[in-house]
Assembly symmetry: C2
């Protein structure tokens, strides 16, 4: 029998950040695809769209009018999933029917006044402006006694449920710590307790030694396909220095963050020569009044495309009922991303 | 301040089966939708399609020829994610890079020789034939020493990654117990230990008392929208009697299972008057040689559509990074399903 080789043989991998497993089937990437084709979005959009509820000066669905903003613009979501004034209460019937009221804040962050830009097409200074908004928002919301977790994220592309192509992200900030950061807290706390260093510090050291899954590096940040990546071209963006949240970054680290975000999203767009869809977001310490020295700030990118601009990975039957599953290995995905040009495809034609 | 009302105010609910939480935002169902529209699939298909790799007598991608089957037909998946002869091995670098070889079996189950039928359009006897195949497959695969979990499921519709409309399901059976049934084992075992009854026995008693989330009942089965449903019209199909796997069902219970599956999937098709997409599957005791008296057989249906045949729920940014989130309440979803006609819409025109 052949020797076990994770680049060739079916296996499970452990997600050290969440404590969960996934199934990897490298041999399966050859199967033919006769299923759903995604529709690609138009490449050309105007810089200003009078029907867009995020463009400067336009009226939103809720009736408010956007200011004539020139950089970033933040407002309370007109259809927020969380509200600050929600009534308080709990339900508990036999430990089996359990609910509790939840309160919080939903905000929208416009990245640019220009309707037709996305992060990879913005310049570094403009992306740094977005990073600065994330810092301010985390500082402001995290300081509120009724907010114990601040989730900053972006859904990009229709296939990721984004209903407006104007470049924007969101913040959902709330009273409780959601499941994903809660799992990461447990794993990071156990590691920190045992080793006295953050889990992601030691993980990064290993990745930099192996280099196989590293996509990009600069003086302060590394972008890599994590060992436990679920989505085909999933990446994890990590500061080299152990900080628990974005407010602790130096000016230089914030510039370098903007730079690696630009470089990574350019690679993504270049992969299939389209505006690459993903959901992405920051994971940071809970703002529950505890110090959380175990937490190591990071950003996840979860992009759905697998083979081309029109063929995505589906997380369906087996994945919903069993475990997440992937075909191409994280090592192969990292290599493809690494080898892509550093210049955006739209700028080379 | 108003009193907390789970049908109106934002809240979290606890999934007693997995121990996880989700966010419910009932007030949010009014937000306008300008995002992706799903394409609906053609309503008319031939009973036999010469290009379909599942139709009787046709040649599959792997070269094998299907027999001229007249009922159900099971074969080993030509592009299985799991293989029985995979090399054995593990990786462990500092507890952070961890992998282990995985082995197993992938099979395809054709539900009918007719290319243009789906479960809701098949008669009860034919669906009973599918139930019998599930029983045989679970018995055969579960008895193998190299198989400790048998996952039987169906992906229906292109939006659920199904690449062939010919009615079929799959089995992925493997050496380890995947994450979802593993979580359900922990929760059910803790409950059984404490109460001496299965968690789902007591849960069903509560649901039958409250009736709000019950969609369908017959002598042996109940279909309901679980208190902790994540997908808009998610359902849980439960036998009234506590059995740990499908092989323990009596003949009468198997007939009644076929009947409630037909009735439920007819309601689903009638909801938006289309062939309703979903991923569905059985959860049963692990086949790891232990008795698992805590396990209570059940079937999950996870359908993605939210508002219409073309508008789905997206589990994206917040859901991937935080917690699952839903807009319409499980109670409202159950009521809509309950009020739908019992006759398939195609048969009434
Ligand atoms: O096996 P199929 O039908 O080719 O593939 C489908 O179901 C599998 C199991 O849920 C998924 O891993 C695939 O992403 C999906 O396209
Ligand atoms: O808030 P949006 O952009 O309207 O909505 C999008 O992102 C939300 C947060 O991930 C999801 O709950 C929605 O399903 C998705 O369509």
């Amino acid at each position: 029998m052949a020797e076990f080789d994770i680049t060739e043989h079916p296996h499970r991998r452990y997600n050290a950040l969440t404590g969960e497993w996934l199934l990897v089937s490298p041999h399966r990437s050859k199967r033919p695809w006769q299923g759903q084709q995604e529709t690609t979005e138009p490449e050309q959009r105007p810089a200003y769209d009078s029907t867009c509820y995020l463009c400067p000066g336009n009226t939103r669905a809720g009736g408010a009018v956007n200011p004539p903003y020139t950089g970033t613009f933040v407002f309370d979501n007109d259809f927020a999933a969380l509200t600050a004034d929600a009534p308080v209460g709990t339900v508990n019937v036999g430990g089996l029917l359990r609910a509790e009221a939840e309160s919080g804040v939903g905000r929208v962050i416009c990245f640019s006044p220009r309707h037709n830009l996305t992060l990879p097409e913005m310049d570094e200074a403009a992306i740094r402006g977005v990073v600065d908004v994330w810092v301010e928002q985390f500082r402001e919301l995290g300081a509120r006694p009724d907010i114990n977790y601040v989730q900053i994220f972006e859904n990009k592309g229709q296939v990721m449920g984004c209903s407006n192509p104007h470049p924007h992200g969101q913040i959902w900030a709330q009273r409780t710590v959601p499941g994903e950061p809660a799992k990461e807290t447990v794993q990071q706390a156990a590691y920190f307790q045992e080793h006295g260093r953050s889990l992601l510090t030691d993980y990064l050291t290993l990745e930099l030694q192996e280099q196989q899954r590293v996509v990009l590096e600069n003086a302060h940040w590394v972008a890599l396909v994590p060992y436990w990546a679920v989505w085909p071209f999933e990446t994890l963006v990590l500061p080299r220095r152990h900080v628990t949240d974005i407010t602790q970054l130096s000016d230089e680290e914030k510039d370098a963050f903007a730079s690696i975000l630009q470089q990574l999203t350019i690679r993504y767009d270049n992969l299939f020569q389209i505006s690459f869809p993903y959901s992405a977001g920051l994971h940071q310490r809970p703002t529950d009044g505890q110090e959380h020295p175990e937490w190591h700030l990071h950003m996840h990118f979860y992009p759905p495309l697998l083979r081309s601009a029109t063929v995505r990975k589906f997380m369906v039957g087996y994945e919903m009922l069993g475990d997440p599953q992937r075909d191409i290995t994280p090592e192969a995905a990292a290599q493809r991303l690494r080898e892509l040009p550093a210049v955006h495809y739209k700028q080379t034609v």
